[in-house]
Amino acid sequence: MTTTAVGREVTYLEAISEALDEEMSRDERVFLMGEDIGPYGGAFRITEGFQKKYGEWRVLDTPLAESGFVGAAIGAAMMGMRPVVEMQFADFISCAFDQITEVAAKNHYRWGAAVPMVIRAPFGGGVHGGPFHSECPEGWFFHSPGLKLVAPSTPYDAKGLLKAAIRDPNPVIYFEHKFLYRRIKAVLPTEDYIVPIGKAEVKRGGTDISVITYGAMVHLALEAAEALMKEGISLEVVDLRTLMPLDKETVFESVRKTSKAIMLHEDNKTGGIGAEIAAQLAEECFDSLDGPILRIAAPDTPVPFSTPLEEYFLPKVSDIVNAARKLAAY
């Protein structure tokens, strides 16, 4: 576990670890379940040292059975606990799909039972993981009423959103991007804080084009914005942070201002979250639009393994730059 002195920089990964540690200290209802999270500290070492501190029941190594332990988390949550389960990789969440969509998502609507639980899902590519260790599964769950989805892009949000997720009375899937784990750092406040679920953030103000994005792609958008500034194109970058419920207000406000929009995500293009936001804009902000709504996303294939294939597959800064130029010229 990472303890941070005032002002010490922490990585995105350490921010997640800190949030878990602080919430477990603060609230004894919070406990962790997953594969290899105990003595081993998890595949990514997020819970390193936790079992020593909290014991083998609050940091509980499960059998290899995602449906079983997600189901168990639902049961414990309904009894008043606050379970946080770890998918070893987000990809394996497909094994627990039925429990998440049919049980966790619907219990409250059907019969009023709150299911306050969090599923941590290390997702995303750029790590040579291939088709089964790189997936972005958020699109599936976005289409299941009753779930909340968050996807932080910075250490600050990673910590604050995880705390908010743990304190939320609903099932929340927390998408943590593996590529960011050790690649970005930030100095975090020493006092307790949360980042509220349902609030997007304008990461960079701009006037010409809004880029609506989340997760690792936020950093690409910021890079592109920097590059485009030199060409006199001003990008506004909106980091959704919460994918469900969407912060329509912030998105709409941005697009009403710039009148042009690019959806950017690493998930497959067809049926991705960018499609929904584009549809909302086309329905509710049509009169403000001065050009087509462009989408930049991964193509509709599994995530390929080999380096040139994966590089081709993932959205790039140049894709954003090209799209912005096209739109600016519109």
């Binding site: 406990f31 029941w57 609050r58 509980l60 499960t62 059998p63 059975a65 449906s67 079983g68 332990f69 997600v70 189901g71 168990a72 988390a73 639902i74 049961g75 414990a76 949550a77 309904m78 009894m79 008043g80 606990m81 379970p83 039925d98 429990q99 049919e102 049980v103 619907k106 219990n107 409250h108 609507y109 059907r110 019969w111 009023g112 039972a113 709150a114 299911v115 306050p116 009423p145 009753g146 909340k148 009375p169 609903n170």
Partner: protein
């Protein structure tokens, strides 16, 4: 063992109470079936006809603070947990006074205040959930237990396996009942599994199991009691196979032609209500008059329930939009 020999370990009042619930369950489900035939029911009707002893038996063995995660033939358990016949019928009619306020139907009854985890159609899905409730009790050092139930059919699903295994590894205070009525819908046991006793499933998990006569409420009750005691003492889960037979079709629109008539004839003789009456009579706990009196009481309650339900309001359309997300105050403290 002869039924009365077993049953003598049960207090007279308890046994009489179970008889009452057997009657109430039968009467209520028969009444719902009648309403269905009159076209008054919204959706399908699944009954526990011929199998009432199982949920009446296990639910009678529980304490107030315990939890059940029933399946679709556990009407007796609902009633014992305090869901009234009126609420059940209201649920079937889609009324706002049903436990799910019209959001869900028939046996999809859930109410945490009365210790009932709502059934999910996807069979076996609630078994892992039941282990999680038991885990919560273990984590908090409470001596509460969970009972869950599945059909023979449900034991073929992966979630059955994952739940049984987890419960056994962590010695969780949960009892798995299995209502082996020899069919899953139209599919006979031998096309579902290559074993004769579903109880053999438990061997894969190192979990102790019992096989009981599911039509004998006293046997079910005592078996549940043993397993509950063990679970409460921290000695882990038990799997209890109740041999029984589904006497109605899978649901009311199914005439169950695929079930050999002789099989039904044979099981008809083992009717749990008849069996319970025999036990009570042989033990000298009750006589025909008691039975008729209880039958009448059950009928009255069910009729009052019909009246309550029929007079209850339907929900209004826009209520469809309510309740997708929970508020903090709804979380169990």
């Amino acid at each position: 063992m002869d039924a009365p020999v077993v049953a003598k370990d049960i207090k007279r009042t308890d046994l009489l109470q179970m008889y009452y619930y057997l009657r109430l369950t039968r009467t209520l489900e028969d009444r719902i079936t009648a309403l269905y035939r009159q076209g008054k029911i919204v959706g399908g009707v699944y009954t526990s006809n011929g199998m009432e002893a199982i949920s009446v038996g296990y639910a009678s063995a529980l304490e107030r603070d315990d939890i059940i995660a029933p399946f679709h033939r556990d009407m007796g358990a609902f009633l014992i947990r305090g869901i009234t016949p009126g609420e059940v019928i209201a649920q079937y009619l889609g009324k706002r006074t049903g436990p799910t306020k019209g959001k869900d139907g028939n046996v999809h009854i859930g109410d945490l205040k009365r210790g009932v985890i709502g059934f999910v159609s996807h069979l076996a899905d609630n078994l892992p959930v039941a282990t999680g409730a038991a885990l919560a009790f273990k984590l908090r050092g409470e001596s509460r237990v969970v009972i869950t139930n599945t059909g023979d059919g449900g034991t073929s699903r992966g979630d059955f396996h994952e739940a049984m295994n987890f419960a056994a590894v962590r010695k969780l205070p949960v009892v798995f009942f299995c209502n082996n009525n020899q069919y899953a819908y139209s599919t006979p046991l031998q096309l579902q599994m290559a074993i004769r006793d579903v109880a053999d499933r438990a061997k894969a998990y190192g979990m102790p199991s019992e096989i009981v006569d599911g039509n004998d409420v006293a046997a079910v009750y005592l078996s549940a009691q043993r397993a509950i005691r063990k679970a409460r003492a921290g000695d882990g889960p038990t799997f209890i196979e109740c041999k029984t037979m589904r006497m109605h079709g899978h649901s009311e629109h199914d005439s169950a032609k695929y079930v050999p008539r002789e099989l039904l004839e044979e099981w008809k003789k083992k009717d749990p209500i008849v069996k319970a009456e025999l036990t009570l009579t042989q033990l000298g706990y009750a006589n025909e008059a008691t039975f008729r009196e209880i039958e009448e009481r059950a009928k009255k309650e069910v009729e009052a329930g019909v009246e309550f339900a029929e007079q209850s309001p339907l929900p209004e359309g826009p209520e469809a939009l309510e309740g997708v997300f929970a508020d903090e105050h709804e979380v169990k403290p």
